[in-house]
Amino acid sequence: MVGETTFERVAKYAVVAAVSMIVLLPVYWMVNMSLKGKGEFAARPPTLVVQQPTTENYYDLLVTQRFYLKGINSIVVAVIAATLAVSIGTLGAYALSRFRLPRNLNYHLLFTMLTIRMFPPIVTVIPLFAFYNREILGFKLFDSWLGLGLVHGFMELPLVLWMMIGFFRDIPRDMEEAALVDGDSRLAVLRKIAIPLAAPGLAATFILVFIASWNEFLLALILTGSKAQTLPIAVAGQIAQYDVKWGNMMAAGVITTVPVLILALLSQRYLTRGLALGGVTG
């Protein structure tokens, strides 16, 4: 920055380094522990840097426990949730940003949607559980990808609505009106003008819903059994009745975190831009 003294620069980096260390320490510790064998685990005091790195935890997890199956569950559920929330939320957001309803209904609808996020998820768990165990058309939602994806998607719908409204408001009204005059219907305008222009926001929103579903624990715990179980539940599953498989648990943590981390890094550009854009005008 212009006019910055050396001291200021050093101080700035020192603060950033300190904060980063505090934030990253647990992550480091998780990676560190995941590479330790049974022997090193028992060492007192604990070794700060792993002395004899081993892959036995990962081997046990991936080969013996077939942990990757849970990963597939997580991916499918998150994709279902994000696709659902983004497609429905985008339509809703577009309608609410373009059409003025009487009696300030736009605002009331948006606020009502927000209340979905206000009550604790546990409130819905028992009715959902009962409903999901009922057979509808020969199909039970309990312990299915679709079942959990539906719930996750619905939970994140308000987020999508509020974010996408911000993005749509940024699109010049003239441009859409030009398309209307040029011969398009509203839906065609949404598809050909609004969505391409809001694409970075759409991507950011999709990723946020994906991550939220990926990390969600409570509903995933109750609404799945063994078939559609997602990663967070499987991580917690390393706590057995009589002992805690610390090494496995740490390895499971690493495996669960890495994909989201990569996703976030890849989409960083969209995320920051998207969040900033949506935030200012939303």
Binding site: D174, E177, A178, L180, V181, D182, G183, S185, I193
Partner: protein, 376 residues
Amino acid sequence: MMRLLGSRGEGRSAPVSFERVCKRFGAVTAVDDLSLEVPNGEMLVLLGPSGCGKTTSLRMLAGLESITGGTIRIGETVVNALPPRARDIAMVFQSYALYSHLTVYENLAYPLRVRKLSKAEIDHRVRDVAQVVQIEELLDRKPRALSGGQRQRVALGRAIIRRPAVFLMDEPLSNLDAKLRLHTRGELKRFQRELATTTIYVTHDQAEAMTLADRVAIMNGGVLQQVGPPKEVYARPASVFVAGFLGSPPMNLLAVEATSDHGAPSLRIGETPIPAGDRLGASISRLRTNGNAAILGVRPEDVVLHRTEEPGSVPSEVFVVEDLGNERLVTLNAAGQYVVARVHADAPAEMGDRLWFAFDPGRAHLFDPLTERRVD
């Protein structure tokens, strides 16, 4: 789609008619009882200050704003309830409203793609229009890589490529710099004459209105004030508003008293009676005002300055002199009322000078202070 377009084929211009059209936003009346006929092929300019309802009228015609009351027709078709796409119109927006994620080529092709024309036909027409508006070498660019003038051409190209029944233009020149604006104004006029398509053009710039229009429609406060050819509205403004809006500087409007001087009708400016002449004299009886008050309108170019008192001249003091190079504007203070005279560049006048001004009553106008309408 063809069914929605009614009986008009593509490429056929159509007349437009507003019949007692109203637009209300809640308690605010934006357009009040607008009736206006635009014959086929005419260029009509809607002129007025901001907030006068001209853009709202245009947007109602485009279908971008609903109509509170009245009827709008394009050709024979009542379009009140038709969506914009079914009205066979093309519009140039003030912001140009180019599709920023598409290339110039795609922008031009857009209205044709919507109509599902064949690829070859689209390509043919895009290149044709690109040549007409001189943007052939820009076809692969995105709008953000264009200058203001180039964007304006793309917007124009996108409008004419459709061969619509009516062109709508919402201040299309206001984002250009002064020099380019003059140039584009001329081109626009040529295009319009060559295409001979009905055009409704909205502007607040009277120079644009005067130069482009076959007829000018002047609006104020949602009410249509006057419609007519530019020369006519300039020479014979229907109301005090039109008189004070057109011209730069606008018409001088003076509070006068209608009296008679030895039996001949006369107008008193301050203490000075001046003969009203036959035309103005006859119109005095049409004043609906109580008392004898009237408003006298004189164009600055009709004001004549005298160094000495002449019969029918009014004493005044020079308030300020503004030189414009080829002419000068002399503002006079005549007993508390200001009068602007547009005179020759070397006409002698200094601040503080005592001058007498006169005018030809045959070229002046009389307005009723109550109705604010012209009575002569």
